[in-house]
């Protein structure tokens, strides 16, 4: 086992006790990156080689020099008897959707390929202040618009470490990949419809979408501003809690960041699940997909392997003292994607307005005097297919004559989804749940190229994760074994607002009870 394969908590203890240095930990990560990552994503990728298909391509920008300076700084602080912070020396990656001062911040789009951020996003600043070492910026779907990382303008896009012919999920694909392959110990992603939880599930990692507002969005390039949540991706629940400790909390630069006092998510992490009420809902064991020909909704059951894993997880939790509540109705779950389609695109189209070629980012090289033509060409050449589709859809459904029919209606659906959760979690209600246990994804990692191009079908990969974004509640995805093809299966815990501590506690109880299971010992394909 290499240093880079240790958990964040194990590694930082070794560094703080000066058993190993932060620079050694960094070198271990860099060595792993060189071994498995292959070439970074680029705007001019050329032909995809056989070698490319076996490597991971998690990174867009590796910030090795910056990382080295930081690691040396941590070591100096320790040598001087100072405390470099609770994550001292822990290497982490950043989804390339966060601004970090002096580094390219691309959003995986041509339109921002030349943008160097002049300031640092709050969660990243907090990680660095806690002594963590930023390795670089990792790949994602362009502007986070996707669930496979395939839509990045920086190719080759990230691949799944468990099987490099599979997608890693998305949009925080690079984040999940880098942690799963031991390139980084932690990563910060964002979740707008499942963009942390789904790639975490596909890559066998732990991913947490915190309560909306729990983690500041300042410095995060917005997708759907009312849905976006920055959050951790880690190899285990304890590391996830440790990272949340650092990045959560009020921020005077984000009006929507909650003002609750800081909480220690590690404190009661291992107090077990005795007496906790955990629900199962039939509405999370089937998915609704529109028929491509007729547009009619057809209900489909989930693959049996996935449902079985969720039920086995429930049984295990019951054996640990949890009370399992069956048949909790969540009737509006199936409207999550259509409502998301509308709301996220309205916000996305507006959020993309600022990329106009005037101030920063890409501007068409063609000389011209007409302003509107400059806008059209800059945006036309700078944006990839996904942003364009979302702009068109967003403009359409928020237009004066359609807004009532689409946007306003979607907001009502959103409120109904929220009500489903409120009823399930109501302490005086029928179910009184502490958490709802569901699958994270309707499938395990699909093959590269299989779904890409079908924006609607791709969107339905988020069907089981998006309700939490609508409702603003936290959701935790933890690995729960593998399917018959050796691909990770994730299960999801959803809880009421600010219940991250409970969700992490349940996740940790499950983790502790399964440590010895055979599937826990399996390594990703690229590390075998």
């Amino acid at each position: 086992m290499q240093l880079c394969d240790l958990s964040a908590l194990e590694l930082t203890i070794k560094i703080r006790q000066r058993e190993v240095s932060a620079v050694e930990a960094l070198d271990s990560s860099l060595e792993r990156i060189r071994a498995v990552d292959g070439r970074p994503g680029s705007l001019k990728p050329g032909q995809l080689t056989a070698e490319d298909q076996k490597t991971l391509h998690a990174f867009i920008t590796l910030t090795e020099e910056r990382a080295r300076r930081q690691a040396e700084n941590v070591d100096q602080q320790l040598a001087a008897g100072e405390d470099p912070g609770p994550l001292a020396g822990v290497p982490f990656t950043v989804k390339d959707l966060f601004c970090v001062q002096g580094t390219p911040t691309t959003a995986a789009s041509r339109i921002l390929a030349n943008f160097v951020a002049p300031y640092t996003a709050t969660p990243i600043a907090r990680m660095e202040a806690a002594g963590a070492i930023m390795l670089g910026k990792v790949n994602l779907d362009e502007f986070a618009y996707g669930s496979s990382t395939e839509s990045s303008a920086f190719q080759p896009a990230a691949r799944n470490p468990w099987n490099t012919s599979r997608v890693p999920g998305g949009s925080s694909g690079g984040s999940a990949v880098s942690v799963a392959a031991g390139e980084a110990v932690l990563s910060i992603g964002t979740d707008t419809a499942g963009s942390i939880r789904q790639p975490a599930a596909f890559c066998g990692m732990v991913g947490l979408k915190p309560t909306y507002g729990r983690v500041s969005r300042y410095g995060l390039i917005a997708f759907g501003s009312s849905l976006d949540c920055p959050g951790p991706i880690a190899r285990n629940v304890s590391d996830t809690a440790a990272m949340l400790n650092i990045i959560a909390g009020p921020d005077s630069r984000d009006n929507t960041a909650v003002t609750l006092p800081p909480e220690d998510f590690l404190e009661k992490l291992e107090s077990g699940v005795k007496g906790m009420r955990i629900g199962l809902s039939p509405d999370y064991f089937r998915i609704a997909i529109p028929d491509p020909q007729t547009g009619e909704y057809c209900q489909q059951p989930l693959p049996e392997e996935i449902e079985t894993r969720v039920r086995q997880t429930a049984e295990l939790l019951a054996s640990l003292g949890a009370i399992i509540v069956d048949d909790v109705p969540m009737p509006n779950t199936r409207y999550g994607i259509p409502a998301f389609f509308v709301i996220s695109r309205v916000e996305a189209a507006s959020n993309l307005h600022r990329f106009d070629g005037v101030k920063y980012g890409y501007r068409t090289p063609q000389k011209m005097t007409d302003l509107n033509k400059m806008y059209r060409l800059s945006r036309g050449e700078g944006f990839g297919l996904q942003p364009k589709l979302r702009i068109l859809m967003g403009m359409y459904v928020s237009a004066a004559q359609y807004s009532e029919q689409y946007y306003q209606r979607a907001l009502k659906v959103r409120a109904m989804i929220r009500r489903d959760f409120e009823q399930a979690f109501d302490k005086a209600g029928k179910y009184q749940l502490d958490a709802l246990l569901t699958p994270t994804t309707p499938t395990t990692a699909f093959s590269i190229g299989d779904i890409y191009g079908d924006s609607v079908l791709m969107q339905f990969a988020d069907q089981l994760t998006v309700p939490a974004n609508h409702a603003g509640i936290p959701g935790l995805s933890i690995p729960a074994g593998f399917d018959g093809q050796g691909l990770p299966i994730g299960v999801q815990l959803l809880g009421p607002d600010f219940s991250e501590a409970s969700l992490l506690r349940i996740g940790r109880a499950y983790e502790m009870a399964t440590t010895e299971e055979a599937w826990r010992q399996i390594k990703p394909q690229v590390l075998r």
Binding site: C99, N255, S350, R354, D356, K359, L371, M395
Partner: protein
């Protein structure tokens, strides 16, 4: 020929005089700063930034709403108004749409003929300003300094019926804004901007016809002129069988003419939706109470009270309430004086206001405090000093900051009312001016004034001039 009346609605943008911009911590005021020197990632819309509302802007808007008799809303929202323009760095403006900070209200305008015209307000909303674009030699330059400056947009209903009323509305609004201390309200500097919507109709008709919108008018006179020019154009157009089109017009103040900026046949779709980056504005009773704790008496009410309480003529009351600190100065002086308030008004309007104009300061910044003015008036009343010395004292107090009594004492300015002292000087003047004495005695009685002047000069202004006159006429009659 048909008689027409003009129907006018005014849309004003009021720049609030907060310390910082509405959503970031840049200074709000960039007057005369070089382009793009008062900016930050937030107000220039860099990727990833978020707005943080400035409570002071909300508070000033609530004060204005209250002064306009509008209803501040306990819950209001910010919205995005989406459009592309180079000086709008986010590609949307954060504004308020269907749930503004305040609705309704009115402003009463006392008109010269004694009537009061009430102009009703549709709504007031908060928003951020955009930057400035300048076209020069085929290039377009953008200055983001003004981005994020807090504005209140206040829209009247189409209640205004003449260019004069429109001018009066702006005059009264400007007075009110300064009175409340929420805006510098300087039109030339763009602190108060006005667009006028103008239409005409046959007098007596109640219909609202197609209107044109006049933009870029940056003085009250320009608003008046532009409305007059546009009203005449519309009448000419209609009279000659033409049709009024919903144009947007640009006022050229040098040529005193309007030209068409664009046709407004179809309304632009700004795709408004709630700004997800900002929480709703909850204006609870506590906060409102705190905001309005020092809410002042308003100018028109004070004007009326000055007429009622101090028996001032309307003209005096109007002048003294033209500006808040002047009105407060007057009232403090009148109370300290306790005598005829008209005396205080006279001294203020004639002498003190000249001092204010010369020094270009508000009354609150005078070293000559209201108590000083009252003291001077009392000294004059008591004949301790004469009127002329009193007026000189105003300047001496202002210059030195010393009290009037102190200066009178130190400089020996007390009026001489001692008969024998004045008589001695009078005799001296008569003795040394035999020719003037002669012509005075032979009937040119107006020369008495010249003799008084000579006595005052000899006594360095301190003599009681009435006493001097009396003694002189006594001596000259002999």
């Amino acid at each position: 020929m048909t008689e027409y009346e003009v129907v006018i609605g005014l849309e004003t943008h009021i720049q609030l005089n907060t310390q910082t911009k509405i959503f970031c911590s840049c200074k709000a005021d960039s007057w005369e700063q070089p382009p793009n020197t008062n900016i930050c990632p937030v107000c220039t819309g860099l990727p990833g930034v978020l707005p943080v509302p400035n409570e002071a802007a909300v508070e000033k808007a609530v004060i204005l709403a209250t002064a306009m008799h509008a209803e501040p809303q306990s819950l209001s929202f910010f919205d995005r108004k989406n459009y592309f323009y180079p000086d709008l760095p986010k590609g949307y403006q954060i504004t308020q749409y269907d749930r503004p900070i305040a609705v309704g209200g009115y402003l009463d305008l006392p008109m010269p003929d004694g009537r009061t015209r009430r102009v009703t307000i549709n709504k007031l909303h908060l928003e951020e300003d955009a930057g400035k674009t300048k076209n020069e030699k085929g290039k377009r330059y953008i200055d983001f300094n003004r981005c994020g400056v807090p504005l209140v947009e206040m829209v009247t209903n189409p209640d205004i019926r003449s260019a004069d009323e429109a001018a009066q509305y702006l005059t009264r609004l400007r007075q009110l804004l300064r009175w409340l201390g929420i805006s510098e309200a300087d039109m030339e500097k763009g602190h108060l901007r006005c667009d006028a919507n103008v239409s005409i109709r046959p007098k007596g008709s109640a219909e609202l016809n197609t209107k044109t919108e006049i933009k870029n008018v940056n003085s009250i006179d320009a608003v008046r002129s532009a409305i007059l020019v546009e009203t005449e154009r519309q009448i000419r157009e209609v009279e000659s069988g033409g049709e009024i089109k919903p144009w947007t017009l640009d006022w050229d103040d040098n040529r005193k003419s309007l030209h068409k900026m664009r046709s407004k046949e179809t309304e632009a779709d700004y795709r408004y939706f709630r700004e997800p980056d900002l929480l709703p504005v909850h204006l609870d009773d506590d906060w409102k109470e705190r905001i309005l704790a020092d809410f002042p008496e308003l100018p028109l009410a004070r004007r009326q009270r000055f007429m009622d309480t101090y028996a001032l003529p309307e003209y005096d009351a109007e002048v003294l309430t033209s500006e808040r600190s002047l009105s407060e100065y007057f009232e403090a002086a009148a109370q300290a004086y306790g005598g005829d308030a008209k005396q205080v008004s006279n001294w203020l309007m004639n002498d003190v206001m000249r001092m204010l104009n010369d020094a270009n300061i508000p009354a609150s910044q005078l070293r000559l405090r209201p108590e000083h003015l009252a003291e001077i008036l009392k000294l004059v009343d008591a004949k301790a000093i004469n009127n002329a010395i009193g007026k000189k004292l105003l300047k001496k107090v202002e210059k030195s900051g010393k009290s009037p009594a102190e200066i009178v004492e130190a400089e020996g300015l007390a009026q001489v009312s001692d008969d024998s002292a004045i008589r001695e000087i009078c005799q001296k003047i008569i003795d040394s001016n035999p020719a003037e004495v002669e012509s005075c005695r032979s009937g040119k009685e107006s020369l008495i004034g010249w003799f008084v002047g000579q006595v005052m000069r000899e006594m360095r202004g301190k003599a009681d001039p009435q006493m001097a006159r009396q003694i002189l006429s006594e001596l000259l009659k002999q």
